[in-house]
Amino acid sequence: MTEAKEKIRQFVISNFLFGQDNGLTANASFLEQGIIDSTGVLELVAFVESQFGIKVEDAELIPDNFDSIDAVAAYLGRKRPTHK
């Protein structure tokens, strides 16, 4: 897993799952699994903005970009093409 992906994974586990990873996979849908609700998405956005130094625009706040570890990592890849 890339460094960014691992950071995202760790954040989700510690912030939403109280440290229990429960077999969380990189492509598991947060919404379907009930891991994250609308308030949770804002926490994820705040984390991603401060951790990776980006600004998430309103139009980017969609499940395609935020609904799984893979989705967030891919979104970051597009926002910061020079980083891993």
């Binding site: 919404l31 609700d37 609308s38 998405v41 804002l42 956005v45 705040a46 309103d58 706040l61 969609i62």
Partner: protein
């Protein structure tokens, strides 16, 4: 049998009788109280609850509470006093502005909004809106709409901290009102009636220990159109019946569908009923003038809201069951 709006129709006379009988039974057998306190907002739900209470118990056993504050719509006070007088019940007006000031509501709210809308002052108006109505399959994004005294409107997406603080502040309104309802109930040896309809109850659209708290919720099983049907039958004034559902929580008028529900209540009635009764999405779509894929997305949103708001319904969680105390109105095993 084609699914239409008519499929939700009730027999209002029968339903009124069923609810009246239940109110009398709950008060005498379960609650041991002599009447009901009803917070009146001038909306159809609380007006129907008060009317049902009077029908069941007589006007001497129903006490109305009007609880306006600085940001309440003017219609609220006029219509709520109107229904109280029409029903002939005892009622009191308790202005909660000073209580809200003491709790720091106005200051906390203004400070939180100002972190997102610089220059936001207490003489501005504002409301919370969600993006949910445009794309129920996506995330719900909360924004603040702020209007300056000269009429300029700004809309900004809320970061988490500001969103939580704003909701935590406005929740004072519901909780202070419920505190007053229970004060009068205790004073009169009455119980407190809650006024949620089925959409609000099912979807968790209430404040925990605010309007979510009650001894009886007489219309929590009724879809909104069924509440209106009862309203017509019980003679609730036409002006109340034609008033659009509002939260009456923010200084700018805020529709319930702007803030919480993904679609207007007329359509949510049909979608929720259809989902609960296993109706095909295409049939629901037809009845609601929506596309079938939109209905499916709304159904997903219904499930999501149920899951997210489940904690609001839960009683206190116990590490170990105390079996001598039975909840759910079952008599304890002696």
């Amino acid at each position: 049998m084609t699914f239409t709006r008519q499929s939700l129709a009730i027999d209002p006379a029968k339903e009124a009788e069923r609810i009246s009988e239940a109110l009398r039974r709950f008060l005498s057998k379960d609650l041991h109280r002599r009447g009901l306190v009803v917070g009146l907002s001038g909306g159809v739900d609380s007006s129907v609850v008060a009317s049902l209470a009077v029908r069941a118990l007589g006007k001497d056993r129903v006490f109305g509470l009007l609880m306006p504050e600085r940001e309440s719509s003017e219609d609220t006070l006029r219509l709520s006093e109107g229904i109280a007088r029409a029903l002939g019940i005892q009622f009191a007006k308790e202005d909660i502005t000073i209580l809200l000031e003491a709790a720091g509501f106005y200051r906390r709210y203004q400070e939180s909004v100002a972190t997102v809308v610089p220059g936001f002052e207490s003489n501005w108006k504002s409301k919370l809106v969600t993006s949910g109505s445009n794309d129920p399959a996506g995330f719900t994004v909360f924004s603040i709409v702020a209007e300056s005294p000269n009429g300029n409107r700004i809309q900004k997406r809320l970061p988490l901290k500001a969103y939580l603080e704003i909701v935590a502040a406005t929740n004072f309104k519901q909780r202070i009102r419920k505190m007053l309802e229970y004060h009068h109930a205790d004073r009169l040896n009455f119980a407190v009636a809650g006024t949620p309809n089925r959409l609000e109850y099912d979807q968790g659209f209430f404040v925990k220990n605010g309007d979510g708290s009650a001894d009886i919720k007489p219309i929590a099983h009724l879809y909104k159109c069924q509440v209106y049907a009862l309203g017509h039958y019980l003679g609730v004034p036409a002006e109340i019946l034609s008033r659009p559902p509002t939260t009456d929580t923010y200084s700018l008028p805020q529709g319930q569908d702007e803030f919480f529900f993904a679609v207007p209540v007329e359509q949510l009635d049909l979608c929720l009923y259809g989902k609960n009764h296993g109706i095909e999405p295409e049939a629901v779509a037809n009845a609601a003038s929506l596309k079938a894929e939109h209905v499916r997305a709304i159904w997903k949103d219904i499930d999501r809201k149920r899951a997210t708001t489940r904690p609001l319904h839960l009683p206190p969680l116990l590490v170990e069951k105390v079996s001598e105390i039975q909840l759910n109105g079952e008599a304890p095993k002696i």
